[in-house]
């Protein structure tokens, strides 16, 4: 029952954050960030297991490992960008959060371009000339 632990942690951290916010808003923000980090660290073990299974399936299907690698990198960038954007938006800096999201999108696009070019080349080869 991991979900009960996480929800309890979230509620306790929210109450503590509200208590501290009266005197020091900065500590409240740091507490929220820290709770996010703890929950993320808790979840990343599970994600790791899922990825191991995916890798096994890809090995059995003889998928080129480069594609799986790229997809994993894209997922990682998405998680990090999402985390940073949420923390920044919590602190009231919506503009910086939007820039972080933009950076995440562009970096993902850069990573995806080799796959895209491979797809285009394959389609061009398939076409009768």
């Amino acid at each position: 029952m991991d979900i009960i632990q996480i929800v309890g942690l979230g509620i306790v951290a929210t109450i503590l954050s509200l208590v501290v916010k009266e005197q020091k808003p900065m500590f409240s923000f740091i507490l929220a960030t820290f709770t996010g980090v703890v929950i993320f660290l808790f979840l990343i073990g599970k994600i790791s297991d899922v990825i191991r299974v995916l890798e096994g399936i890809a090995m059995q299907a003889h998928v080129n490992i480069v594609y799986l690698d790229t997809i994993l990198k894209i997922i990682g960038i998405a998680y990090i960008a999402e985390f940073g954007a949420q923390v920044t938006r919590d602190a009231g800096q919506g503009a910086i959060a939007s820039k972080i999201e933009l950076a995440g999108k562009i970096l993902i696009m850069v990573l995806a371009i080799p796959i895209l070019s491979v797809i285009v080349e394959t389609i061009v080869q398939l076409l009768p000339s």
């Binding site: 005197q23 900065m26 980090v37 993320f40 690698d69 990090i80």
Partner: protein
């Protein structure tokens, strides 16, 4: 997990205690000392959070980027 939860309580406790010390020092007229105490508290907590964020990013790197 247990260690991390302790850290959350530590941060909240540091915040409350710093607020208390700040109030007491301000009441007794030592305004600049109150500011220093607040600043040091921020630095300590920021250090804790930064080290944990470093842990998180290393873990994400290990899981997603370098396998």
């Amino acid at each position: 997990m247990a260690y991390d939860v302790n850290a959350i309580f530590q941060i909240a406790g540091i915040g409350i205690i710093i607020a208390m010390i700040h109030t007491v020092l301000k009441q007794s007229g030592k305004d600049d000392w109150a500011q220093w105490v607040t600043l040091i508290g921020f630095i300590v907590v920021l250090f804790m959070v930064a080290s944990f964020i470093n842990d998180l990013f290393q873990e994400i790197k290990r899981v997603f980027l370098f396998q």
